[in-house]
């Protein structure tokens, strides 16, 4: 009695399963008539590559992030000094970048105007050279910044503007070597919005302990920050030790430092090569965002992410693994459990936790507490805002 029933129903079941599978595959690969007609016309259009909302698109870690360019775009003027040469670059009303090269006595050595499409350079006539004019297409492939304009103007004024090639986003004569402006620069001053000025100089330091057990020494870039002429803090980058530290009195407690050991687990070390312009902008950004936090308290209820995450959010926010709301359970974002997820996100951000913290429970008690808190929150709906437990979190 059973066997005939099975025999009767089995073909129907197999047919249903096969039909369902085929329908799903066809739906996934369906080609519309418009697609087909486009291909028939020679395929001259490119398909727009859409990204599902929430997809993490990791940018090139070696490139600056959008936040960097947002900060940089508010730079009013940048002054670069290399030996007895000064390059002053600024943004003007035409939206272009201008860089003027002079010697220490103020004598004209050339000037450069750059837009996203064209670079124009005029060299001044010197004792032994004639004035040259250059009009070139901007093929640097990077977003033009004031520091880039200054570096470009300085290079052209020193090496000439004949037989040029693009090398790492900067033009140089084919026969000339590539300049290392970070090594050559003696001083960089960045004038930012709201009366903020960052001034970088270079110093040599004897060995000293920047934190318990962490000794740094050697050549360092030091940026002094002023706000409306009043000292507002400083930052320092040790070339050899690859350590970045900053102090903003009134905004930070003591010296905040970040070394490659903080970044190794997540990025394998510094994911980009810090340069002199970066140090000034990083210092300005730290002051700007910390001032906002102090005034508005808008960032994660004053619970701040760990040092590496703070840096990561500034330069490569697209690498952030977290989504607002309940990751993987966004259907519940409109419910009361949303608060549990947001608290958990803040807790993770503060303690530098990742999804692996769930199974690598021996690595961080703080992350374990984040996880216990969110489980408890889901289970009983209690308010587990980590900032409420300041003794636990040290917020």
């Amino acid at each position: 009695m059973r066997v005939p029933s099975v025999k009767r129903l089995a073909p129907i079941a197999v047919a249903i399963v096969c039909f369902g599978g085929a329908a799903a595959m066809r739906a996934a690969t369906v080609q519309t008539p418009r697609d087909a007609s486009t291909q028939a016309r020679g395929g001259q259009v490119q398909t727009v590559r859409t990204l599902p909302p929430g997809t993490r698109v990791a940018g090139d870690p070696g490139k600056r992030g959008d936040t960097y360019y947002w900060i940089e775009a508010q730079t009013v003027r940048s002054t670069l000094r290399v030996g007895d040469t000064l390059v002053v670059s600024d943004r003007r009303g035409d939206g272009k970048l201008h860089a003027k090269v002079t010697d220490i006595a103020g004598n004209d050595r050339g000037d450069l105007t750059a837009s996203s499409t064209v670079v124009q350079y005029r060299s001044a006539a010197g004792d032994r050279v004639e004035a040259q004019n250059l009009l070139a297409q901007n093929d640097s492939r990077d977003r033009p910044t004031l520091h880039w304009a200054a570096a470009q103007a300085f290079g052209l004024s020193k090496d000439g503007a004949a037989d040029l090639v693009w090398d790492g986003g900067v033009m140089r004569p084919r026969r000339a070597g590539k300049r290392d402006l970070d090594a050559e620069a003696d001083e960089v001053e960045t004038v930012w919005a709201n009366g903020i000025v960052a001034r970088l100089t270079k110093h040599d330091f004897p060995p000293h302990e920047i934190a318990p057990g962490r000794v740094v020494q050697g050549r360092a870039w030091v940026t002094d920050l002023t706000a409306n002429g009043v000292a507002a803090g400083y930052s320092i980058w040790f070339e050899r030790d690859q350590v970045f530290a900053y102090s903003l009195p009134g905004l930070t407690e003591g010296l905040v430092w970040i070394g490659p050991e903080h970044l190794r687990a997540q990025y394998g070390g510094w994911p980009f090569k810090p340069d002199v312009a970066w140090l000034n902008l990083q210092t300005i950004a730290a002051h700007h965002f910390r001032s906002l936090i102090a005034k508005q308290g808008f960032v994660a209820r004053n619970c701040e992410p760990q040092k590496p995450n703070r840096l990561a959010q500034f330069f490569f926010p697209t690498l952030s693994a977290n989504e607002p709301g309940c990751d993987g359970l966004h259907w519940l974002d409109g419910t009361m459990v949303r608060q549990c997820c947001d608290d958990h996100d803040r807790c993770y951000a503060k303690n530098g936790c990742t999804a692996s913290s769930w199974w690598q429970f021996w690595k961080s008690w703080s992350c374990d507490f984040c996880n216990m808190a969110v489980v408890s929150c889901f289970a009983v709906g209690s308010d587990m805002d980590p900032c409420h437990s300041r003794a636990w979190w040290g917020c």
Partner: protein, 139 residues
């Protein structure tokens, strides 16, 4: 009779597991393909990120469970457990292999998804058993 036993055993265990896994996977493929237009999905394509996707997924798993239970040599509601296990295995694979990664609360997601799949699998199996009895009554 021995053939019926073999078929029954396969239906009750391996086939149920495979059916659950396949049903979840088919639903996920469909959701990926029409995440924006059909499911109005935000974030990454994943059945617990959209109400419609939840309906499609639990519908697929419930149907698979009902079919497997109805065809089993010894139709029992407990057949839904193997279907749920297969769907859960498939769900776990998809969760960890999707581009956005498992997310920061993935154990909770797995529990919620697992409970959901278990419930619909058992419900589907229960329905399948009832349908089977209905067919037998007409035989």
């Amino acid at each position: 009779m021995s053939l019926a036993c073999v078929v029954g055993l396969l239906m009750a265990r391996a086939l149920g597991f495979a059916a659950g896994a396949f049903a979840f996977w088919v639903a996920h493929v469909l959701e990926r393909a029409h995440w924006i237009d059909w499911f109005h999905g935000e974030y990454d394509p994943w059945f617990l990120n959209s109400g419609r996707a939840i309906l499609v997924t639990i519908g697929a798993v419930a149907v698979a469970s009902a079919v497997v239970a109805a065809l089993a040599a010894a139709p029992r509601t407990a057949t839904g457990l193997t279907v749920a296990a297969g769907a859960f295995a498939s769900m776990t694979l998809v969760l960890f292999l999707k581009p956005a990664g498992p997310g920061s609360i993935f154990p909770i997601v797995m529990v919620v998804g697992g409970v959901l799949l278990l419930a619909v699998s058992l419900a589907g199996a229960w329905t399948g058993v009832r349908l089977r009895r209905l067919f037998r009554a007409h035989d």
